[in-house]
């Protein structure tokens, strides 16, 4: 059958169903295939905090969104072009995000009276005019797969479970994507259970064929692949990128890696990855609590390891006292906070950027420490390396802020060539003239001597100590000097961090300043507005303490500074306090990242109010 083929720059597809429907798996297969095919990919898994919420409920809906294309793929996508809905609840929850005229593929099997009621539908949306604005394909997936697999020898339950693979096959057909990566994956995954492997392969191909032979589908889409630089690529989430970043940092520093951590959503995956790296010599402790996580890491750092602890907001709250200890001990330590919506337990699976104040100010006494923030899933790798480098060079704890969105979303990553990553120089002090708080004159870092070095036996501790000798001291002037030295040391990190990069126009009407995971949404909005002819400038901060050296001089040039954040204005507050310049705040605190359209509209609103021109 001849089909009309429409070429697209980018498409957003969302697979949605019950928590038990395998949507996360379906979505991640689709994203791997589209990346393999050569498009740019950004994904977003959206799932409830209940492990298996009751079937059919609105709060039990699990979804996986993939934005892929040749251009402008910075976020998982504002609006959905294609929605695959496996039941009434997932239709109800996700329909608002489907663009008018978008494609909706519905599994009709689950539109029973009971499920409609659970989804709070008074009438069946497949029969009334709820879906009139969309191109709807109603398919009874359950019926199709049971017919297909009736002789497969699988149980009805096992057969039912393949329905998502059918939908996946159909989605591949719709976008002219290859089946091979998924076929290979099925063979690999079910290698030991050939019956199941065969069934899944059959259903996958049948899904594809279904599109090919069914005249309902009059149009096919083609997304042009992006031109990637040569190299080896893979998909990676922010959490995995952090874990790999730690391993590479330890390797580059020639230190053993130690992670002390306590499980917490959405940071647990870092612990999972690290604990699976035993073949690479990595040591870890799943501590009894977050305090044990960080303090064990402090002990390991004293012993000469590259030590790290990973957590999310509630855990960072518990680590606060120990962070102060790490500050006064002046030992290297990498602390990763995968921020989630707070306060308290908040919304554990949802993102937020509201721990900046905690990272910046959350310690008693004067206890400054460097704060870094990753901007994309792959940037989590680079910033973890940066965090380790700074921690070691300046003998200080470093907090790296990521968030639930960065941690769980994925994008393609050009795997770096290990040889091109510079070594992280470490020099353990071994000369017996050692004085624990004698400092390097340039960095002000004290020298690192580890147990096992004869003649360098020394004690460090949380009590204030005398400059240079490290002997316990309550001397008033010495205390002030030590407080100043510790602060000055953190300031000097500026020497080592790159200047802030200004995108766009230095003489623009508006400067946008972002940090962390807002990067994708801001960049997409920024690019569109520039294309439309607006004059804009954009700085995305990855170093929040200290700020890059040139940030002050950039800010000085602008009268209008716009700071969108997923908190009530924490960076805005710090910027205003530091540079004494008013900024325009804009917040979204919904557990979701900004839509790029939200940023775009807000910028236009500001420009209009200020009489800004194109």
């Amino acid at each position: 059958m001849e089909r009309k083929i429409i070429e697209l720059e980018d498409v957003t597809i969302r697979f949605a169903g019950d928590s038990g429907d395998g949507m996360q798996l379906t979505g991640s297969r689709f994203s791997d295939t589209s990346a393999f095919f050569g498009t740019d990919v950004s994904t977003f898994p959206d799932y409830p905090s209940e492990i298996r919420a009751p079937e059919g409920t609105l709060y039990g809906v699990s979804a996986y969104q993939i934005h892929f294309g040749s251009k402008g793929v910075y976020t998982p996508g504002d609006q959905i072009d294609v929605l695959v809905a496996m039941n009434p609840a997932s239709l109800k929850v996700n329909l608002p995000f489907l663009r008018k005229g978008g494609i909706l593929i519905v599994n009709t099997a689950n539109f029973t009276e009971k499920n409609l009621k659970l989804a709070k539908y008074e009438t069946n949306p497949l029969e009334d005019d709820t879906l009139k604005d969309y191109q709807v394909f109603k398919i009874n997936l359950n019926e199709l797969v049971s017919e297909l697999l009736k002789d497969s020898g699988l149980t009805p339950k096992q057969i039912e479970r393949t329905k998502n693979i059918f939908a996946l096959g159909l989605a591949y057909w719709l976008f002219d994507l290859p089946l091979r990566p998924t076929e290979e994956w099925i063979n690999h995954k079910f290698g030991k259970r050939p019956q199941i492997a065969q069934a899944n392969l059959k259903v996958l191909r049948a899904g594809y064929e279904f599109g090919e032979t069914n005249e309902l589908f009059a149009i096919r889409y083609k997304v042009t692949p992006k031109k990637f630089e040569p190299g080896i690529y893979r998909n990676i989430t922010g959490n995995e990128a952090v874990a790999l970043g730690l391993v590479v940092a330890a390797n580059k520093a020639k230190l053993p890696l130690f992670l002390g951590s306590y499980p917490i959503t959405p940071a647990s995956e870092i612990l999972h990855f690290i604990s699976s790296y035993k073949p690479y010599g990595v040591r870890h402790l799943q501590a009894e609590d977050e305090i044990g996580g960080i303090t064990s890491a402090i002990g390991a750092a004293y012993g000469g390891a590259l030590a790290a602890t990973s957590t999310s907001g509630p855990g960072l709250s518990l680590k606060v006292e120990a962070l102060g200890l790490a500050v006064i001990l002046e030992l290297p330590l990498v602390v990763i906070d995968v921020q989630r919506a707070g306060p308290s337990t908040g919304m554990p699976t949802k993102m937020e950027q509201a721990d900046l104040f905690l990272a910046m100010f959350g310690r008693h006494g004067e206890a400054p420490l460097p704060i870094l923030a990753a901007s994309t899933p792959t940037d989590c790798f680079d910033m973890t390396l940066e965090a380790a480098k700074i921690a070691i060079k300046y003998m200080t704890p470093v907090i790296l802020l990521t968030d639930g969105y960065l941690g769980q979303s994925s994008e393609e990553w050009k795997i770096p060539d290990l040889n091109t990553i510079p070594d992280i120089p470490v020099q353990f002090y071994t000369n017996p003239d050692y004085l624990p708080y004698k400092r390097d004159p340039i960095t002000l870092a004290r020298y690192w001597a580890i147990p096992g070095s004869p003649g360098l036996e020394h004690r460090i501790g949380g009590l204030e100590k005398e400059d240079i000798t490290g002997i316990v001291s309550q001397d008033p002037l010495n205390h002030q000097r030590m407080v100043e030295l510790r602060a000055e040391k953190i300031k000097r990190i500026q020497q080592d961090i790159p200047d802030a990069e200004l995108l766009g126009d230095e003489n623009a009407d508006l400067l946008i300043i972002g940090w962390g995971s807002t990067y994708g949404s801001i960049k997409a909005a920024f690019d569109r507005l520039i294309e439309k002819g607006y004059k804009l400038a954009y700085v995305h901060l990855k170093y929040l303490n200290p700020f890059p050296r040139n940030l002050g001089s950039i800010i000085e040039k602008f009268d209008n500074i716009f700071v969108p954040e997923n908190n009530l204005g924490q960076l805005a507050f710090i910027l205003q306090g530091t540079f004494l310049k008013p900024v325009i705040r804009y917040h979204k605190i919904q557990g979701r990242i900004f839509l790029s359209s939200e940023i775009e509209n807000k910028i236009l609103e500001i420009l209009n109010a200020k009489g800004g021109k194109k």
Partner: protein, 349 residues
């Protein structure tokens, strides 16, 4: 890849292991109150370390906060004076990163069992190779005399002016219940006994918990006199020795006999019982350990001192290293390049 730590360890000059206790004295002046039981512990630790033939640079002492926790500053070894309650957790990380070190924890009854209770029980169950010396003075001393988790019931303190209504922990039972492989009790006034216990703890492979009755002359003076003072001690305490019957009394005229599972005091002079009827201590008997530890607050029984239990089990750090070695040997390619690629990667030419 050899790490820089290995460079330090392997390339260091050969150090003498002939020491005197003085070699373990740091230049810092000791600042406990005169008469504090901690002085004796410091002296005994320095004495036994001198005889262990372990290079001095291999020792690390980690403490929390409290009078007792000043200890590391007085030792000419590596050491960390940490934060309140966290000594065991800090030491755990150090030991896992550096199994080659002899890692000691010095902690108080509050530090160890109140704010740090969670770390204590978990390090014990993991059998981390730490030697934990808990200076039990049944009081919070550094903060000037509040109730601690071992303060006796009814005792008035600064924070219990009407008498303490919190039942105390029995540290030995707590440690045993948490899975500690080595559990012992000694006291400040008997240097020889303490040295014997410390030496055994030092040589124990795994988690060693030593409770040391430590007199605080300021806030809880004489708390242990009944069990430790020369005139009352032999009537009110019993020394546990592996393979020996439990005999006590000023004239060695009493013993402990098991009546079912219940220890009872019997006289060795009234002709009813002889030494052969007495309970014989066995450090490897994990059931007996609980029975003996439970004698602790029973006023009809003498207070037991000595090693309640000493059993062998692979330590956490050994298991860590073993697991790494096994995982390495089963993985054909342990290069980081391969790790970075993961399972699904593709090449763009």
């Amino acid at each position: 890849m050899t790490t820089l730590i290995e460079n330090v360890i392997q390339n260091k000059p050969i150090t003498t292991v002939e020491y005197t206790p003085k070699d373990f004295k740091s230049p810092l002046e000791v600042r406990w109150c005169s008469g504090c039981g901690s002085y004796s512990i410091l002296a005994q630790v320095q004495k036994i370390l001198a005889g262990l033939k372990i290079p001095r640079e291999q020792y690390a002492f980690v403490s929390g906060i409290g009078c007792s926790s000043r200890f590391p500053y007085y030792m000419q070894t590596y050491g960390i004076h940490g934060i309140h309650g966290r000594a065991i957790a800090i030491a755990t990380g150090l030991k896992v990163a550096r199994p080659d070190l002899s890692v000691w924890v010095v902690t108080g009854d509050g530090d160890c069992m109140s704010i740090g209770g969670n770390h204590l029980i978990h390090a014990a169950r993991r059998n981390v190779g730490l030697k934990v010396l808990m200076f039990n003075n049944e009081i919070y001393s550094l903060t000037k005399g509040q109730v601690s988790p071992t303060t006796q019931i009814g005792q008035p303190t600064k924070s219990s002016p009407f008498g303490n209504i919190d039942y105390p922990f029995n540290p030995a039972s707590l440690a045993l219940g948490s899975g500690a492989t080595f559990v012992a009790r000694t006291f400040d006034r008997d240097p020889k006994h303490m040295q014997g216990i410390l030496e055994r703890a030092a040589k124990h492979n795994g988690f060693a918990f030593v409770e040391i009755y430590t007199n605080c002359v300021i806030y809880n003076d004489g708390a242990f006199d009944l069990y430790t003072a020369a005139d009352s001690r032999r009537e009110h305490s019993v020394m546990l020795e592996h393979g020996k019957p439990l005999i006590f009394g000023a004239n060695n005229d009493k013993g402990i006999r098991l009546d079912g599972f219940t220890p009872t005091v019997v006289s060795l002079t009234d002709g009813k019982w002889s030494v052969d009827d007495l309970l014989v201590h066995d450090e490897k008997d994990t059931t007996l350990a609980f029975i003996l530890a439970n004698m602790t607050y029973n006023s009809n029984l003498p207070r037991p001192f000595g090693i309640f239990q000493s059993i062998e089990k692979p330590s956490y750090e050994e298991l860590t290293i073993r697991q790494i070695e096994e995982a390495k040997s089963k993985t054909p390619d342990t290069s980081i390049e391969t790790l970075l690629k993961g399972e699904d990667y593709w090449e763009i030419k």
